[in-house]
Amino acid sequence: MTATLDATPEVGAVPSFEVTLKVMRYLPSDDGSTPVPHWDEFRVQAHGTDRVLDALHKVKWEQDGSLTFRRSCAHGVCGSDAMRINGRNRLACKTLLKDLDPSKPITVEPIKGLPVVKDLVVDMEPFFASYREIMPFLVTTGTEPTKERRQSAEQRERFDDTTKCILCAACTSSCPVFWTDGQYFGPAAIVNAHRFIFDSRDEGGAQRLEILNDKEGVWRCRTTFNCTEACPRGIEITKAIQEVKRAMITRAF
């Protein structure tokens, strides 16, 4: 923003405004009855520097302590607070309220396609099961070298983009193919496979390609780019998936 004389009443002053949060509630009770998901509205006073996470904190700390959501670092690297804000998957800790048109209610829902445990907390196990399946660790053969495994800057650059993943599930839970039956490996698993497949030090590439050459693997990707748009780290996910597809085709022919 460019500073203008008439728009700034006081140097360093942060504009404050009232904002309505429309949160999707899902509250399992002790008596075992099936809870009905419903919207709850909260009004909070927020500053121009506040994020959706700050507003959720205000609600939880000052209005309704039962509001449940995950957050750990609150600074965009732990990947705990991915949620559907105004219909788009984002990290609550990286989304400023002022960027969301605070004059209208801001909708907050859990990410789609994973079972909801409570309010905004979903069961991430199906997501991590796919992640574990692609073997997200270095696979080597032969004897351990006595020094580091050397790699040139170009070789490191080859998979640099996919090392940025924080496993927040924003991509996988934005994928319409994943929504249908939740059997698709999902963009996040493929991104993390890409990170090792194109690592010159790794020798498990063929195995990983074999795992993803599945009916529920890369071939279910329809290149809708939802994942690329949702990624809070700006990873070019669809491109990574296409690169894995290409590696499979050059291997098969």
Partner: protein, 152 residues
């Protein structure tokens, strides 16, 4: 569909160690076929449209004699057969992926795919039969409706 997101995932995660793997090159070949047949179909279909609608006397030339004349030549038999098979396999495979992507219940998926494969077999068998068993000179037909090479 309700206005709000379904709190339950469409299907619970599979029990046991890991998912049932469905590995293999089937989907890979399917993916490559869609691209290769797509390119071929563009050539075949636009060639077909040009020969039928633009070349010669244009649309007005199409009658029984024109079609019969084309199918008397092995070149057009192969052309039309390729077009029929590629278009049907390409289209059916496309519909299959759409059904897989959108049908949430197993029974819906099964019924839709059953109908799809039935339609595929019906059209391919009938079409192939017509291309190969077509008689350009049926006996007892007026000569002015038949192609020029027919000798009554």
């Amino acid at each position: 569909m309700s206005l709000v997101a379904d709190p339950k995932a469409p299907r619970p995660p599979k029990a046991g160690p890991g998912r049932r793997t469905t590995r293999g090159n089937t989907e890979l070949y399917g993916w490559v076929f869609m691209r290769a047949s797509g390119v071929l179909l563009v050539v075949l279909i636009f060639g077909h449209l040009f020969v039928n609608l633009v070349a010669g006397e244009g649309v007005s030339q199409i009658d029984f004699g024109f079609v019969a004349g084309k199918w008397a030549s092995p070149f057009w038999q192969v052309w039309d057969l390729l077009m029929l098979w590629l278009a049907m396999i390409h289209g059916t495979n496309g519909m299959r992926t759409i059904v897989n992507d959108y049908a949430e219940k197993d029974t819906t998926r099964l019924v839709l795919k059953g109908l799809l494969y039935f339609a595929f077999v019906l059209v391919v068998v009938l079409g192939t039969l017509v291309i190969f068993t077509f008689d350009p000179c049926p006996t007892g037909s007026p000569a002015d409706l038949l192609p020029s090479f027919c000798t009554a």
